[in-house]
């Protein structure tokens, strides 16, 4: 593995593929190694999630190190939900010292949706402020306190955005704030409505963001009608348009999973045709073994060495 593969691919303008890797609820390092082995040859990097959905898991820092040992480049997610500014900055330093090449900074889900709804929500900083603090730490060698950092870290800074949530007219501008604060790449919420996404991309281009920040579109296969319902009503911020719902409900129950994969492949291909989309981020929880098929059928990914800008 080469550290900085994602950075190099983005810099070269190659269509990148990242995937989600959720750490286990347990202390088994093998759980990460097994998922990493499934994804290793197919993706540029994996996002190691940080107590995703406010459910306790092995920490994203440890998960990132384990992923790295298993031969896949990590993107360490770090949320503002569980840590104040001291803990956030010390984890960012730790990631630097342990050679984690990418961090993804986000506000995080509210604990109310997790397995500890009784927890104190921290939110000392928001996602924009955390991005800002990280950039200052890396580029100016300063903590938020103004004190110098002896050896600044060198990770690439990522952020997230949801092009589909209201107020939609503000969503590209919100990304502009993150870019001003220091975000160098952004991964989006699941794209099921490519038209709305394309309109958001038009706003993003109008603000001149693609030259400063690489846009990676979030995608994932719907595996069942139950999963579809969960995405529509159980997860805040996911927008599934009616035509997608009709399409998935219109097939026999035993073929929904297949139809979900077809839809995911088509979505990736349409996204690859949108100017300035730098890659896709695959979220396939518990379906890591299906990721290679999706990547292969979509005609993208490191193995096929596609032309810059994605497949035709």
């Amino acid at each position: 593995m080469t550290a900085g593969r994602l950075r190099a691919a983005l810099a070269a303008g190659r269509f990148v593929v990242t995937a989600e890797l959720g750490p286990p609820r347990g202390a088994d390092p093998g759980a990460i190694a097994r998922k990493a082995a499934l994804l290793r040859d197919w993706v540029d990097a994996v996002n190691v999630t940080d107590n995703q959905g406010a459910h306790v898991r092995l920490s994203s820092l440890a998960g990132s190190v384990l992923a790295q040992r298993a031969g896949v480049e990590p993107v360490m997610q770090l949320t503002c939900r569980d840590r104040n500014r001291l803990a956030l900055q010390s984890d960012l330093l730790a990631a630097g010292a342990l050679g984690v090449p990418n961090v993804l900074l986000l506000t995080g889900d509210h604990p109310r949706f997790g397995d500890h709804p009784d927890a104190k929500p921290v939110f000392d900083l928001d996602g924009v402020q955390l991005t800002w603090a990280a950039r200052t730490m890396r580029d100016e060698g300063l903590l938020m306190s103004g004190r110098p950092v002896a050896t600044p870290p060198s990770w690439l800074i990522g952020a997230v955005e949801n092009p589909f949530a209201p107020p939609r007219e503000f969503r590209a501008r919100r990304l502009a704030k993150k870019v001003a604060a220091g975000a160098e790449f952004v991964q989006t919420q699941y794209v099921f409505d490519v038209d709305v996404f394309a309109r958001w991309m038009t706003d993003v281009r109008a603000l001149g963001l693609p030259g400063r920040c690489k846009i990676i579109a979030g995608v994932g296969p719907v595996r069942s009608l139950r999963a579809l319902e969960f995405m529509r009503s159980g997860v805040p911020g996911i927008h599934v348009p009616e035509d997608v719902v009709r399409r998935l409900r219109g097939v026999p129950t035993d073929q929904v999973a297949r139809a979900g994969i077809d839809l995911c492949v088509e979505t990736i291909q349409r996204l690859a045709g949108i100017p300035d989309v730098a890659g896709v981020h695959l979220m396939a929880f518990g379906f890591e073994h299906g990721v290679p098929e999706i990547i292969e059928r979509a005609g993208i990914g490191p193995r096929l060495a596609p032309v810059p800008g994605g497949p035709p």
Binding site: D126, V128, V160, P166, P167, F170, A176, K177
Partner: protein, 180 residues
């Protein structure tokens, strides 16, 4: 009225009870000048007076905006919709969990304060306020009068333009590490 801090479950979205135009107008009337600066300086020298003044500010802003007395008022830059009533207390815009109809993900029966902020600021011609970078809060200021801080010029850098030379996130890293 029950204090916002005593409300169960932490911050809950509050819909402002003062029209945005009126709020901008009030702010204009109370904009920092030498008179207010003098008043603020006098208040800070008189603990009883500043306590009374702060109690009045709290009562008024709690009624009108659901104020939680963070002590570093963002209202003039958020269409007078208080970001501290967001369950995540986001100062820089809405999270990604806003429902299709503009409702809060944590309290789905309540409107997202940033959707309200966007509508109010845009309608009042203050839309670009939302593009400003809001600095992290100084939690030592909690419970203090934001008006007094503002008149004394201490809140001048609460938010900065996202354009131009890269600013630093902390409001006053040069200040001593002990509270005032």
């Amino acid at each position: 009225m029950r204090s916002a801090d005593a409300a169960p479950g932490g911050p809950r979205p509050v819909r402002p009870r003062l029209a945005a135009r009126l709020a901008y107008g009030v702010h204009h009337l109370m904009a920092a000048n030498s008179l207010y600066r003098g008043l603020a300086a006098w208040l800070e020298r008189h603990p009883h007076a500043v306590r009374l003044f702060t109690a009045g500010e709290r009562a008024a802003k709690e009624q009108l905006f659901g104020c939680r007395m963070c002590g570093q008022c963002a209202l003039p830059a958020t269409g007078y919709s208080c970001p501290m009533t967001c369950p995540k207390q986001l100062r820089n815009g809405p999270c990604g969990g806003v429902s299709r109809t503009g409702l809060c993900e944590v309290y789905p029966e309540l409107r997202c304060v940033w959707v309200t902020a966007f509508e109010r600021a845009e309608a009042a011609g203050h839309g670009t306020d939302l593009d400003l970078l809001q600095r992290p809060l100084d939690h030592r200021e909690g419970g203090r009068s934001s008006w007094v801080s503002y008149w004394q010029g201490r809140d001048e850098d609460l938010w900065v333009s996202a354009e131009g030379p890269a600013p630093r996130p902390s409001l006053r890293p040069e200040l001593p590490l002990v509270p005032r």
